[in-house]
């Protein structure tokens, strides 16, 4: 659905759901999710959601980033080697 603009070279490699993907400098983790065509499922009903507002308000882009659950992916700049997974349902809480 989404494609990169040609004038912005994709130079940063991240892993989305374990698959390598390149995004431009300054892109957020949510952009990587959009490019990969993935989204989260909600904590209560498990309904599918995708990144939406891209400005930190709607919480629809929740992702597990480098092992940390429920991150707002649109607020996290992509870094080389970043591991991004869509948040599936409620995160776990409790003793390790």
């Amino acid at each position: 659905m989404f494609a990169l603009r040609p004038e912005r070279p994709a130079t940063i490699e991240v892993a989305v759901e374990g698959q390598p993907l390149r995004v431009p400098e300054g892109a957020s983790a949510a952009v990587a999710m959009l490019l990969a065509g993935i989204g989260r499922t909600t904590a209560l009903s498990g309904a599918p959601r995708a990144p939406y507002c891209l400005m930190g308000v709607c919480f629809e882009c929740l992702a597990e980033i480098d092992g940390v659950a429920n991150q707002q992916a649109c607020m996290v700049p992509a870094r080389p080697g970043m591991r991004i997974r869509a948040q599936r349902g409620a995160r776990r809480a409790g003793p390790a």
């Binding site: 429920n70 776990r92 809480a93 409790g94």
Partner: protein
């Protein structure tokens, strides 16, 4: 402009929060044509900031009548929740699995044990089951307790609910039962005579033989107009809310509960700061610190919301219920436990008001207790 025509009802309830709405719906249930006057968003609206406990174990130390009233309300709650579910298809999220109060030091544990023993003594012939539980056993009940937790008190009577859904369901049940809800209706004028009341609000004039003041902090100003007293003051409490997580807490704790949706609500503070709704980082920090000492894993969760609200507090911290001696038919109801006491307000207090007399069990809650001359 001519005076508005009078709209006649069998009961006027002032205050559209949990107390007013529970009583108004209770009066409707008794078959009374009831109007509910709600001030609007300029009101302090304690009912929008509730923590959501249906809590028994620490209520009414030294005041067994309050303990009995709280127990009675917790006992009515399942009927309230079921009735609201049937009438409004709203699940108010009631769970009453029992609850614990954590103690983070030996002195806290000893003080709690003493308090619970006194509560049991004061319960008289009513069974009051509780247990003081030491940390090793507690660790099997609650996951990931911190090393600072030395023990807890437990009673089977405690629980929690969703306060916003409760407020919504009460309003919906009220209007669906034929009650008339009037928003943006701050009472501007009142006229009182025995069993004959009129109020001006929202440019309309309402009259009824019964009038109930359930306006929270607003009662302080309204009460004298109707031959009543409600010397209540604001007491601030702050609450933190975490992101949603999979269910982990099997029961509510005095200051930590996991909502049905998975959020952890963390409270609370007790602050005498007047009508000041600000939040303060040192208090928020103290709240978070105690939560993390109780359950270190809470520190991994993000706080996504926080708010403060003003409790409606009488000088002795107990509710106020009264019928005016000068103007019979006028009642007050004030408390800081609008969720816990919703069962009693809708299903016990409202029928008393409908019948025109408060049960003697409510006598100790009169505001007359604050009157030095009357008390001497």
């Amino acid at each position: 402009m001519s005076a508005p025509r009078t709209e006649s009802f069998e009961a006027i309830v002032i205050g559209g929060g949990l107390v007013g709405a529970a009583i108004a719906w209770g009066l409707c249930r008794q078959g009374l044509a009831t109007v509910l006057l709600d001030e609007g968003d300029i009101a302090y609206r304690a009912s929008r900031g509730n923590f959501g406990l249906v809590w028994v174990q620490s209520k009414g130390l030294g005041a067994p009548w309050y303990q009995r009233w709280t127990r009675a309300s917790a006992g009515e709650w399942p009927r309230l929740a079921a009735d609201l579910a049937t009438r409004t298809a709203t699940d108010v999220g009631l769970q009453q699995p029992g609850g614990v109060h954590l103690c983070l030091s030996e002195p806290e544990f000893e003080a709690r044990a003493e308090r619970m023993a006194q509560m049991q003594r004061e319960a008289g012939n009513t069974p009051y089951e509780y247990r003081m539980i030491r940390a090793p056993e507690l660790r099997d009940m609650l996951p990931g307790l911190g090393p600072d937790v030395v023990g807890a008190s437990f009673t089977p009577y405690d629980g929690h609910a969703n306060p916003l859904r409760l407020l919504h369901a009460l309003h919906r049940a009220f209007t669906e039962a034929g009650g008339v809800y009037v928003p943006e209706a701050k009472v501007e004028e009142g006229a009182a005579a025995p069993h004959d009341f009129a109020v001006l609000a929202a440019g309309r004039r309402f009259a009824a033989p019964r009038l109930v003041l359930g306006a929270g902090l607003g009662n302080a100003e309204l009460a004298p107009c109707f031959g009543l007293a409600a010397p209540v003051r604001p007491q601030r409490g702050q609450v933190l809310v975490t992101e949603r997580a999979a269910e982990i807490l099997p029961m509510p704790i005095t200051t930590i509960r996991q909502t049905q949706e998975g959020s952890l609500m963390i409270g609370d503070s007790i602050e005498e700061v007047g009508f000041d709704l600000r939040q303060t980082p040192p208090v928020m920090q103290a709240i978070a610190d105690r939560a993390v000492r109780s359950f270190p894993w809470i520190g991994e969760l993000s706080i996504v919301r926080a708010w403060s609200a003003l409790r409606v507090m009488a000088p002795d911290g107990l509710p106020i219920y009264d019928q005016s001696a000068r103007f019979p038919g006028a009642f007050t109801a004030n408390c800081h436990s609008g969720v816990t006491l919703a069962g009693a307000h809708a299903l016990l207090l409202a029928p008393m008001i409908a019948q025109g007399a408060l049960d003697p069990m409510l006598d100790p809650f009169t505001a007359g207790r604050f009157d030095v001359r009357a008390a001497s």
